[in-house]
């Protein structure tokens, strides 16, 4: 599984995202409270640009006047029809067993040793090898 350098950590602060083209795929890389997640930028429903949607959480109510908002920022909502996906698992909210968005492994590593050159190598080469880099692992 090739690994691609897609960004420096500084480029995607908590709550932000970056949509990148990697190996012919459009992939969104999200920083949720310091943890990185990556999913395919294509909604399984009608092919909408999923990674341009809002991130939100879950609202649950156990009774009138009671509200619990949880998992803020971990749920990605398609900009077209509002289908919602869990960024941690790729599973849809309404049919987690059958409707999923493809997700990719993400890691944060220092420098570029042992990595294939990605689309941002030229930009990052001159900066510093002490930077932290966000890596997405994509099948060929």
């Amino acid at each position: 599984m090739p690994k691609w350098v897609v960004a420096t950590v500084d480029e995607i602060p908590p709550g932000a995202r970056k949509v990148v083209d990697v190996g012919g795929r459009s992939i969104g890389v999200f920083n949720v409270g310091g943890e990185f997640y990556a999913v395919l930028n294509r909604c399984p429903h009608q092919g909408g640009p999923l990674c341009l949607g809002n991130t939100l959480g879950f609202l649950r109510s156990d009774g009138v006047g009671e509200f619990h908002y949880s998992r803020a920022g971990e749920i990605l909502r398609c900009p077209w029809h509002g289908w919602e996906y869990d960024l941690r698992t790729g599973q849809s909210w309404f049919d987690p067993g059958h409707v999923l968005v493809r997700r990719y492994e993400v890691e944060v590593v220092p420098g570029f040793e042992g990595l294939e050159k990605g689309p941002y190598v030229a930009e990052t080469f001159a900066i510093s090898v002490e930077q932290q880099y966000v890596i997405v692992e994509v099948g060929r």
Binding site: R17, H45, C51
Partner: protein, 378 residues
């Protein structure tokens, strides 16, 4: 927050020609119509503003009822920037034509004089800012349909402009559309060679259901097809098509899977009750099949895809009457290359639905600029 704006990965993936029959242009600001209004109506709009029946509007799924990716980078409202509409819709899917449906509330104004002034202003705005700059666009002529005298005047004033391909109403009218009150407007449309397009929405003062006001947007959104059915029933049973055999009606954003069972029910009742409607010379279903066109979005999505084809088999006439639409920039947008169910469809169904039925109805050429259209062959 979004650092890379990616074009939808759909350009030229759809081999079929595409004509989009439902696109919503928006105002850049509430004052965007001012250049097209007289001083009197500018003042009216600024000081009194739009006044209609209340209660028909529920919070939409998204702000402006829009796709969240449809806000142009310049921050203008979705649907208000022609360049962004070209980029995100017309160019992205290489569309032959798009038909605008301005939902700016003109027809439902309680002040009919204002409704008429607003309609004229919207039509001039459409010509100036959309139809003249973009040859792929056509539009509906906005009219004060609750005041048919005004509507007739507007059709005669501007109906001959080549950019307008139909007269535009919304489905929630003050009275059922078969009533004689509306007939002069239909006659004027026929004179101008235009169909009547009736779009989802509007405020006519009546609840959307026959059982009162719903509580939620979901009910309003899914239940609007009942208003369309009520209008079909009225137009057919009032004998409009016997008196005006050239009248063509386009139902926009109202669904279509209900057409077969509604036809059965109307025919069944007519067999027993035809004495009440001696003007009807034929079965109600025949008027429905002959005089109506229907747009596709939001596409019918049965849980089992082949049920789509079964539904069509009960009303084969739909194959010549369904016209593709996206509803751009609204949140329930249908993508041209994804909207149809992924099953074997009747032969030639897809090219007719995606473009050719609309091309025929709206008398559109094969392609803007006379380019040879090779895409219509599957």
């Amino acid at each position: 927050m979004v650092t890379t704006l990616t074009q939808p990965t759909t350009r030229s993936q759809s081999k079929l020609a595409v004509i989009d029959c439902d696109i919503h242009p928006a105002l850049k600001s509430p004052k965007a119509l001012h250049p097209y209004l007289s001083e009197r109506w500018r003042r009216h709009r600024d000081t009194i503003g739009d006044r209609g029946y209340a209660g028909s509007y529920y919070p939409r799924a998204n702000p402006n009822a829009a796709r969240t990716d449809a806000w142009p980078p310049n921050g203008l409202p979705p649907g208000s920037d022609l360049d962004f509409m070209r980029y995100q819709l017309l160019d992205a899917w290489d569309m032959d034509f798009g038909v605008l449906q301005p939902l700016l509330g003109a027809g439902q104004q309680l002040n009919h004089e204002y409704a008429a002034a607003l309609s004229s202003a919207i039509n001039e705005w459409q010509i100036e800012e959309w139809l003249d700059p973009e040859p792929r666009l056509r539009s509906g002529l906005v009219v004060a349909y609750e005041s048919p005298e005004h509507a007739v005047a507007e059709i005669r004033r501007r109906g001959a402009h080549p950019g307008f391909v139909q007269v535009m109403l919304t489905i929630r009218t003050g009275e059922p559309l078969g009533r004689r009150k509306y007939w002069p407007m239909y006659e004027a449309a026929i004179e101008a060679g235009l169909p009547i397009g009736v779009h989802f929405g509007g405020q006519g003062g009546n609840p959307i259901t026959g059982a009162g006001w719903p509580s939620m947007y979901l009910e309003d959104h899914a239940g609007m097809s009942t208003a369309f059915q009520a209008q079909v029933i009225s137009l057919v049973c009032e004998g409009v098509f016997e008196h005006l055999p050239e009248l063509k009606i386009v139902l926009i954003e109202g669904g279509f899977a209900w057409a077969p069972p509604l036809s059965w029910r109307l025919d069944s009742a007519w067999r027993k009750l035809h004495d009440e409607v001696p003007d009807l010379k034929r079965k109600p279903s025949e008027y429905f099949a002959e005089h109506f066109w229907l747009t596709t979005q939001p596409m019918e999505e049965p849980p089992v895809a082949r049920q789509f084809v079964e539904m069509l088999s009960h009303a084969p006439w739909l194959e010549d009457k369904l016209m593709f639409s996206t509803d751009y920039p609204h949140w329930d947008f249908d993508a041209p290359n994804e909207a149809l169910p992924k099953i074997k469809l009747p032969e030639n169904f897809a090219p007719k639905l995606m473009a050719e039925n609309a091309r025929g109805l709206y008398k559109l050429p094969s392609r803007v600029g006379g380019l040879v259209d090779t895409s219509a062959t599957v």
